[in-house]
């Protein structure tokens, strides 16, 4: 493996065109990800997590578009790459899993047809071989009776099974990177835990890099090596999962952790006051300023990146004028 990371995203910007001019969906998103690592991208809805995923995949539809920055994947620049080239990567080297398993499979095609077409899109094999691979991959993700399932339509499977099918499709071509957009959110807790465990095992086994998007910090904790926290189209803090969760330095990260139901029984949850800004109403400077308990006049300017140095634990970076203050307070 080379020195440069598998995926390197730098200053990625995306815009949504509206009648009143473009709105910033992503405002300079940067992170990197290596083989066999799991990065959890955490944030509230509307923070730009999904927009990041779709930008990476080149699947942002008008009126939204990637407006700048760079996405380097295995040494190749993806921003501005020709659609035909991009298509060869999608589903092949970079696979994606969507949020709602009820919606991601075409309701009028059989499971088998949808897996087989994905095989045929990237591999020069015949139908029989494609079908054999389809059966194998369903078996690998723990779908019982794979042969019979191939003939099923999506509505005949449960939500959990459907998401397994989607995961199977993602694994078909042993991708280098899987982008998963909240794939367990729509499932109930037991199935979610089961799938997380299995995905983790598969990633370790195949050395795949995984970008896991979630609004649920506890999912990130179970699964991720690193965490990046997004707010209003920016990453505000990133670092190793354990360190970041134990000692958050950005007031927003700290707020997210404080609103998590865990720890001592009966301890009070402290929700973050206020609501995240709408796309049109993002404040200048630090966008978290209006909801932040420790914001000062300095926060009106764009906060710089700083190294995370909290309690002697270093690693990662934070974008705050006064990192660590909220946690201490």
């Amino acid at each position: 493996m080379s020195d440069s990371p598998l995926l390197e995203v730098q200053s990625l910007r995306a815009e949504l065109a509206t009648r009143n001019g473009p709105l910033n969906m992503l405002d300079g998103v940067s992170f990197s990800l290596n083989h066999g690592r799991v990065l959890a991208l955490v944030g509230e809805s509307g923070s730009g997590k999904s927009a990041t995923a779709f930008s990476l995949m080149g699947l942002l539809d008008p009126p939204a578009r990637v407006a700048g920055g760079s996405v380097r994947f295995a040494g190749r620049e993806l921003v501005g790459l020709a659609e035909a080239e991009m298509r060869r990567l999608r589903g092949n080297r970079i696979a994606m899993i969507f949020q709602d398993p009820m919606m991601t499979l075409n309701p009028v095609l059989t499971i088998g047809a949808q897996i087989v077409e994905t095989v045929l899109a990237h591999a020069p094999v015949g139908r029989a071989e494609a079908r054999r691979r389809a059966r194998d991959v369903l078996g690998r993700v723990g779908v019982p009776g794979p042969e019979e399932r191939l003939a099923c339509h999506p509505h005949q499977l449960s939500g959990g099974l459907r998401q397994r099918v989607a995961i199977a499709i993602a694994l078909l071509h042993q991708p280098d990177l899987i982008v998963a957009d909240e794939p367990t959110t729509a499932l109930d807790a037991t199935i979610q835990a089961q799938i997380l465990r299995e995905v983790r095992a598969l990633v370790t086994e195949q050395g795949t890099a995984l970008l896991w998007i979630t609004h649920d910090l506890s999912v990130a904790e179970q699964l991720a090596d690193d965490i990046a926290v997004m707010y209003a189209g920016r990453i505000v803090e990133r670092g190793p999962a354990a360190s970041l969760l134990r000692q958050p330095t950005h007031p927003y990260t700290a707020g997210l952790i404080a609103s998590l139901p865990r720890g001592r029984r009966g301890s009070r949850l402290t929700p973050i006051p206020g609501l995240p800004p709408t796309l049109a109403g993002r404040p200048s400077g630090c966008a978290f300023r209006p909801r932040c308990g420790v914001a000062g006049p300095a926060c009106a300017a764009d906060p710089p990146w700083r190294d995370r140095l909290s309690g002697g634990v270093s690693g990662g970076a934070v974008r705050c004028v006064t990192p660590g203050r909220a946690v201490a307070a």
Binding site: L23, S50, A51, P107, A280
Partner: protein
Amino acid sequence: MSLAAEAPPQQGEPQDGPRSSLATVWRDFAASGVALGSLAVFLLLAGAALLAPWIAPQNPFDLTQLDLLDGRLAPGSRSGAGGIYWLGTDDQGRDMLSAILHGLRLSLLVGIGSALVAGSAGTLVGLAAARAGGRADSALMRLADLQLAFPSILIALMVIAFLGRGIGNVLLALILVEWAYYARAARSAALVELKSEYVEAARCLVLPETRILLRHVLPNCLPSLVVIATTQVARAIALEATLSFLGLGVSVTEPSLGLLIANGRNYVLSGETWISLYPGVALLAVMAAINLAGDHLRDSLNPRLER
């Protein structure tokens, strides 16, 4: 139309507020040049049609004013009396421009008249069905569905075949064709409204049911009914013209665009096309104006719909 699943909103797209007021509907409507233009064309045509007896160069159905010597003159020809026939004349020396203006008058009368009657009757049926529920509701809606399954022209021709031609029977046919659309729309809109909180609040005040229906539910059904009315007016105008063209509409003494076109048909093969051409252009203009304005009105009333 709706497909099996609803589209999720684009990520990050700001959501529109709930119901829009009349002012915002108008602002949205007026923001489109096409919408304003088609409204202007419609008002112009409707105004000219309304004032036809006063502004038309001649009364095309007063035989004493017609000069057979002026028959089948091409557009732009001079009349014996010195005027100009801008759109030519038909075989009886009738000024086409005047005939078209009078024809538009009849078209709009028939179109809007049938929409008013069918709209009120259909809406009442729909509201009553939504309120009554149960068997009465399903019987009424089955009847409406059955009728909607049959093409409008077939229903209209049945009426004409059994009752004979004439403007009264044409109106009756149009009303019979149209009512079911309003009834269906009024019922589905009313069903939504009847479940809403403000109706529950009104019920708690023990307001009479008819008052709740007419004062509270009906106004909220109106937007969808108005949109249906625009398409129905256009359809009614087309259907009347078609029936009259086939000789199964209004009587030959009435000024119908369909009759004018049918009359010109005899001269089409000899190249004298203007007798059929211009009444059709007028028909197309008024229908396109109504359809376009209706399209944009629907969009303005449903701000969340994608254009």
